[in-house]
């Protein structure tokens, strides 16, 4: 079965098969043999004579310590439209379109609202400042849109995951 792996908005078609304890992996038609061993939470990959150390943390694959955001898509791209899809969770170009919920990444205090309902916002524009861990953090828009609803109130504290704002 062909898998679709998304990185930086680009989709790779990947086929994986087992052979003699190793894996045969083809990426967009180019095949290579990969030897995999797990060692204390990290993966050692040997591809040919090249050695890579990999750790996988949620949807982040660290290759030699360099993080790569990866989404696994299904063979049917329409599946990726649902909010639960790992591909859309990556917030890359796949995330464009549709309402954006801006929620608190951690418990904190709403210090300042930077936009109001009806405002047009640009990608990466600051929306709301939340104070947590002794620091002020600006939450930003993933993509362009219009502020549909502001639920956060300045000066109040919020729980992690609380929806602060909705953009359309």
């Amino acid at each position: 079965m062909t898998l679709y792996v998304d990185v930086n908005g680009r989709r790779y078609a990947v086929d994986v098969a087992r052979r003699n304890g190793a894996f045969l992996v083809s990426v967009d038609g180019r095949q290579r043999e990969v030897d995999v061993k797990e060692v204390g939470g990290v993966l050692s990959l040997l591809i040919g004579t090249k050695s890579y150390e990999i750790s996988i943390d949620g949807s982040t694959v660290h290759v030699e310590g360099i993080p790569v955001q990866v989404g696994i898509g299904s063979p049917r791209p329409s599946w990726g439209k649902a909010g639960a899809s790992p591909s859309t969770a990556l917030g890359t170009s796949m995330g464009a379109g549709g309402p954006q919920q801006i929620s608190a990444p951690m418990p904190g205090k709403i210090v300042k609202l930077l936009v109001k309902p009806g405002d047009r916002v640009e990608p990466r524009q600051g929306l709301v400042v939340v104070e947590a861990m002794k620091m002020e953090n600006e939450l930003r828009a993933r993509a362009a849109g219009t502020v549909a609803e502001v639920r956060a109130v300045e000066g109040t504290t919020v729980e992690a995951g609380a929806i602060l704002m909705i953009l359309e």
């Binding site: 992996v25 204390g40 943390d57 955001q69 696994i72 418990p107 930003r140 995951g161």
Partner: protein, 511 residues
């Protein structure tokens, strides 16, 4: 001194416990609710619970810390840094309770903790300070008088609000023509922000470096200064990289800088560890800024180039011992050391804090590398405290070797579950201006502003392809994995966490 209570947590508590162990002294940890299983609690010989998670309910509670010392039968207290370290009431409360406070006297903390009093002490010791007005300039001071003062200080000058902070009421004036307009707007901004229109003038030092001198003073009148530390790589006035010696300080400046720092300390009878901070301009002039009356975060780099254990000496000084360090060796660095402060922050998301569960942690080691850490795999970075999890220190024969070793160590440093500033440091250590030693205190903020939000360590094509291969193999082994954070996947080290942690992680992917 048989048992020392450490009134702190995290990496610095661990550092002090280690010094205690080296000296055969028992360490007593204190902890808040969420720190029950923290590393410092498990490393210590004894541990006492002191309250709830917010610092104001635990690590900042003088009464509870003193009570914990009594309960554990400690005879001394080390405050570390942060929390109560520069609180003269705490130092006095320890003294009143018959506990040896491992630090300066409450009187010295009070005196040198006041910026104006410390500045006065520096001037009396004949040490240069940033030229400026001594008295606040109220509304009654006419423009002509202010122009006269500005002329004497020398342009460019800064106008600052007496009650100020955060840049409010601050103006840069480069000539007399701009002065009266800037005075007017600074005053009205100061009035609006702080309810006090009083201002003062200070010479503006262009593109200064932050250099500082660590010193130790014993109770027998000896003060020993150490080779300077360079701490100009700062983000929003917070140090992120420190090194020693400074690439901008030659032997002649070092002699003046260290002897001036010691002169201030001697003039106020300072004891134990402290640091004098200076601004250094482009023509070898330095100006006293302020004093920190405690051990500093960046103390390990001084230890690396001098071979002196500063924490052990803090304890020995508090016991009444005489300093036996060779003063000449203390100002003669052996090699070069660099420290990176590793924070639980997502640098690619504007340095957003990234608390949570540390799923996996691989810490570098090898020649010249020291990791002073409070973090470990399976542990948590709580949301209540400073997010610094570790200090990574590299030593080399010279600066290029220290940088090369730091790069190697950063490449080996691998943390899963939370984001850290490691990717940022990998980028930072490749910046040509950093490598050449050409920077000042505003340098990092300037280059960060010029970035368009691209990742600090973007993967190249080869790494992307390897990531695709690894993700596909993992998916092949667990095809039912719908959610990338599925904790049941044996190749996925992320452990089940509370809903908010999972949320924090997925939100952190947003930029």
């Amino acid at each position: 001194m048989k048992r020392i209570l450490i009134a702190n947590r995290g990496e610095i508590a661990v550092r002090i416990i280690r010094a205690c162990r080296d000296m055969g002294i028992e360490a007593v940890a204190v902890y808040s609710d969420c720190d029950r299983a923290a590393r410092h609690v498990r490393l210590a010989g004894r541990a006492v619970h002191i309250g709830g998670n917010p610092p104001a309910e635990s690590y900042l509670r003088i009464d509870r810390v003193i009570d914990a010392a009594r309960r554990a039968d400690a005879d001394a207290v080390h405050p570390g840094y942060g929390f109560l370290a520069e609180n003269e009431e705490f130092a006095a409360a320890c003294r009143d309770a018959g506990l040896t406070f491992i630090g300066p006297t409450p009187e010295a903390i009070a005196l040198m903790g006041s910026k104006t009093a410390a500045r006065q002490a520096a001037m009396e010791a004949g040490v240069p300070v940033v030229p400026g007005t001594e008295e606040p300039l109220g509304l009654d001071v006419p423009d002509a008088a202010i122009a006269g003062l500005a002329e004497r200080i020398g342009y460019p000058i800064m106008i600052k609000a007496v009650a100020g902070g955060g840049g409010k009421g601050m103006r840069v004036v480069s000539s007399v023509a701009e002065l009266s307009g800037a005075v007017r707007s600074a005053r009205s901004e100061a009035q609006a922000s702080f309810g006090d229109p009083a201002i003062y003038l200070e010479r503006r030092i262009l593109n200064p470096r932050h250099v500082e001198v660590q010193l130790l003073g014993d109770h027998h009148g000896t003060v020993i200064p150490f080779v300077e530390r360079e701490c100009s790589i700062q983000r929003r006035h917070q140090k992120v990289i420190e090194e020693t010696p400074s690439a901008a300080v030659g032997d002649a400046v070092r002699r003046r800088l260290t002897s001036d720092a010691a002169a201030i300390a001697r003039s106020v009878g300072y004891t134990n560890a402290g640091t004098m901070e200076f601004l250094l301009d482009g023509s070898d002039h330095f100006y006293f800024l302020e004093m920190n009356t405690r051990l500093q975060v960046e103390h390990p780099i001084t230890e690396m180039v001098t071979g002196v254990d500063l924490v052990q000496w803090q304890i020995r000084i508090a016991r009444g011992e005489r300093l036996t360090i060779d003063p000449a060796a203390a100002v003669k660095p052996r090699g070069h050391a660099i420290e990176c402060r590793i924070y639980a922050e997502d640098a690619d998301a504007g340095f957003m804090p990234s608390p949570g569960h540390i799923a996996a942690l691989h810490v570098p080691s090898g020649p010249g590398i020291r990791d002073d850490s409070g973090a470990e795999a399976g542990g948590d970075v709580p949301i209540f405290y400073d997010p610094m999890i570790s200090k990574l220190i590299a030593w080399g024969d010279d600066r290029p070797q220290a940088i090369a070793r730091m790069r190697r160590a950063l490449r080996e440093y691998d943390v899963s579950g939370i984001k850290t500033t490691v990717p940022f440091f990998r980028w930072m250590l490749d910046q040509p201006d950093f490598v050449d030693g050409r920077f000042h205190t505003g340098y990092l903020d300037e280059i960060l502003r010029s970035r368009a939000g691209e990742p600090f360590t973007p993967p190249d094509d080869e790494r992307i392809e390897v990531a695709v291969v690894a993700a596909a193999i993992q998916h092949f082994l667990r095809p039912n994995r719908q959610n990338p954070m599925n904790p049941t996947n044996p190749l996925n080290p992320v452990k089940p966490g509370s809903a908010w942690r999972a949320r924090a992680r997925s939100e952190a992917l947003r930029d």
